[in-house]
């Protein structure tokens, strides 16, 4: 690490200093102004306290403001079902629902999701009670390596509520933001078609 290197003790100190500024969540907030900028190795991020509602459960976190929703889910809440592919909104592996709508969690700061309801693949179903879309992906073998699968399923579930036509071409267009490197598109299409048309 370079200038952002810091110890756990430093982190806790800064977290305490920054807490008041963050908790209010309204403007103007000056957490960094409160922590004087320092040069060199002592320079460190000011942590922000925030609350995330994920899969119906509230979590309190202290995060560097740069933390994306994706990294908060994976690295801090250990919900690793959501995958990091490109980290630039180009692959769709990180797709989650925010207030019921599909988004790329890599392009959203975790702090921006405060106050919203986040749903990940873990909140959709579990091995004993699969969501119909999860079941359909299993039945149609809608994957090969599986890395894009949670993003594909989250995207597919959300598109059911979007105003798309009923053709296969509409499904392909609606799902174009989810890339499958293995090329399992035919089976993904079959799985989605089954859930859409029964």
């Amino acid at each position: 690490m370079t200038s952002n290197e810091f110890t756990r003790r430093d982190m806790l100190t800064v977290a305490a200093a920054g807490t008041g500024a963050l908790a209010g969540g309204s403007f103007p907030m000056t957490p960094a102004a409160a922590a004087p900028a320092k040069e060199g190795p002592e320079s460190m991020p000011t942590l922000m306290d925030l609350s995330l509602s994920v899969n119906g459960k509230k979590h309190r976190l202290s995060l560097d403001p740069r933390t994306t929703l994706l990294d908060a889910l994976r690295e801090y809440l250990h919900l690793t079902g959501t995958k990091k592919g490109c980290d630039h909104g180009q692959c769709g592996a990180c797709t989650v629902h925010v207030d019921g709508r599909r988004v790329n969690s890599c392009l959203k700061l975790a702090v921006m999701a405060e106050g919203a309801e986040v749903t990940t693949i873990e909140g959709l179903g579990d091995p004993d009670r699969l969501h119909p879309m999860q079941q359909a992906f299993v039945e149609h073998d809608g994957y090969q390596c599986g890395y894009c699968t949670s993003g594909q399923i989250m995207s597919a579930v959300a598109m059911m509520k979007e105003p798309w036509g009923s053709d296969d071409a509409d499904i392909r267009e609606a799902m174009s933001g989810n890339i499958c490197r293995c090329g399992a598109y035919q089976n993904i299409l079959a799985a989605i078609r089954q859930v859409r048309h029964g």
């Binding site: 103007p28 957490p31 700061l109």
Partner: protein, 332 residues
């Protein structure tokens, strides 16, 4: 990504005041508004954008679509691209805008991206996005790597010796053909900028892309009433069938009267350094019969001043055919 402080703006006035402290609202701005985040976060991860303050404007009351007195449509800056594309009044009165929006990005990105943010969408030039290479837009005076480099996707219209970066937006091409106005609130009050004046040509200052000044907040986009009896179409040509930026696109609005064209608006995407209105093509079309010969003449006029680079010469012919095809579709 550089460290920044984050705050949620409680009102437009708060947001404007915070952003007014920056020395510029263009490349290198120290304060950035974040809405969808789909451009800003992407560029911050690349260190192309390095704001020290990020102001979250998502909670401002700017997410409404309202009918204007006189028949136009007022679109809040925070209206998401998906909501705008699927809004009944847009589909009914401005299908061109709906088509353009749905041809861009992905379902996820359209749920995030906003109207105001799309107006400020940045170029996809690979050198702009790569801080290891010279780029006059990102680092004024450092040189243009694209002119002698990978320029297949770059602009052929409105370029300069300093920059040939193409504007990637689809929405802005439709808004240009629809003659939208951008409502900006700043420290000096509110002003309306016709979309034709909103985007700047690169010239010697490619780092300056719009008329936005420190503190300026886009609050709305206003569409004039739909042209009586006009038909419109957006055609986008690209390397993939979906989820790809345009190599060339055309937004056209056409109305005919007894076989003669009485109203024509033409804008091109993917080929210009800004969303490219073509008054040259419109002049050719006006008063003429809606025939293949007229359309070919209009396309030739639109691309007459094109300056192709080493790899993007194909765009000149592609854009012509794109425009001819779009005009043929609306005239059918």
């Amino acid at each position: 990504m550089e460290l920044f402080t984050y705050a949620r703006a409680a009102s437009p006035a708060d947001a404007i005041k915070a952003a007014a402290a920056a020395s510029t609202a263009q490349q290198g701005a120290e304060v950035r508004f974040v809405a969808g985040g789909t451009t800003l976060l992407d560029l911050m991860k690349l260190d192309v954008e390095r704001p020290s303050r990020v102001i979250d404007i998502n909670h401002l009351p700017l997410a409404q679509i309202e009918r204007m007195p006189g028949g136009g449509l007022g679109i809040g800056a925070l209206v998401r691209n998906a909501d705008l594309a699927n809004h009944a009044d847009v589909k009914q009165g401005y299908p061109l805008l709906s088509q353009a929006l749905l041809s861009g990005a992905s379902g996820q990105l359209r749920n995030m991206a906003t109207t105001g943010g799309n107006l400020l969408q940045r170029t996809r030039c690979v050198y702009f996005r790569d801080t290891d290479t010279p780029c006059n837009k990102r680092q004024p005076g450092s040189g243009c790597s694209a002119i002698d480099g990978f320029n297949r996707t770059m602009a052929v219209l409105g370029t300069s010796e300093q920059c040939i970066a193409s504007n990637p937006s689809d929405m802005n091409v439709a808004l240009t053909a629809l003659e939208a106005a951008v409502v900006i609130r700043g420290i000096g009050g509110e002003r309306q900028v016709p979309i034709g004046d909103f985007f700047l040509l690169p010239g010697d200052t490619p780092d300056r892309e719009t008329v936005m000044m420190p503190g300026d907040l886009i609050t709305h986009v206003i569409l004039p009433p739909p042209q009586d009896g006009a038909r419109s179409h957006y055609l986008k040509l690209r390397d993939r069938a979906s989820y790809e930026f345009a190599l060339a696109s055309a937004a056209v609005v056409l109305a005919t009267d007894k076989g003669a064209i009485r109203h024509a608006r033409v804008a091109l995407g993917g080929v210009g350094t800004r969303p490219w209105r073509s008054p040259e093509a419109e002049r050719v079309l006006l008063g003429k019969p809606a025939t293949p010969a007229t359309f070919a003449a209009a396309a030739a006029a639109a691309l007459r001043d094109a300056k192709p680079q080493s790899q993007n010469g194909f765009k000149v012919e592609l854009a012509k055919r794109c425009l001819i095809n779009a005009l043929t579709t609306v005239a059918a």
